[in-house]
Symmetry: C2
Subunit: 114 residues, 2 copies
């Protein structure tokens, strides 16, 4: 890396028939849901509106081969949500892929000199 802080980065996504259902912001939201067990809690901790989080989840579930999030709108806690078994498998895999690709990107950043 040069002193000007030029660096190569990589955004990893997973597509189904050409449509992406997992990318860094989506995986971040899913991890928060996994941690919180609630969509409103996840949205809050990411400073995202509840409606936006809800829309993202709908988009993810519609595009993925199976729903990644099981959700219940409304209720006292603003709607419970949990990551499905398939969702947990995909997220774990996504994380492993990110690590592999980030390792290569790190090596590239040590070699380049822009």
């Amino acid at each position: 890396m040069s002193l000007r802080m030029i660096e190569v980065g990589c955004q990893i996504f997973i597509r189904r028939d050409g449509y992406s259902f997992l990318d860094p912001p989506k995986s971040e939201l899913l991890y928060e849901i996994w941690k919180n067990g609630s969509l409103s809690g996840a949205a809050k901790s990411l400073k995202m509106s509840y409606q936006h989080a809800w829309n993202l989840i709908n988009e993810i579930n519609k595009t993925a081969p199976e729903p990644l999030v099981l959700k219940q709108r409304g209720g006292t806690n603003g709607g419970g949500a949990e990551i499905s078994g398939y969702g947990k498998r995909i997220l774990t895999e996504y994380n492993a892929i990110e690590k592999q690709i980030n390792k290569l990107t790190y090596q590239i950043n040590n070699e380049i000199n822009f």
Copy 2:
């Protein structure tokens, strides 16, 4: 890859101090300019408005450590444009990085089973 055509993809970008100045659509525009020697020709072949291409180039040149495109607005051919020596170096490097990362992504796609 499963029969449902689930695949991992990767968008590579180059950032300076956190701001990206090169990513797949930007590099596509730059390659077209390199080929065409004109901004309007490049915009046309990418079905992009001239103004949008012009704005993108301004953004790239402002963010990169040195201008990647040397341009001249107006004139009979709608404004000549050429890729600077630095731009050619960066684009060639970007292309090589893309190849390296795509090779890994290809391997990953052969291994995963979502």
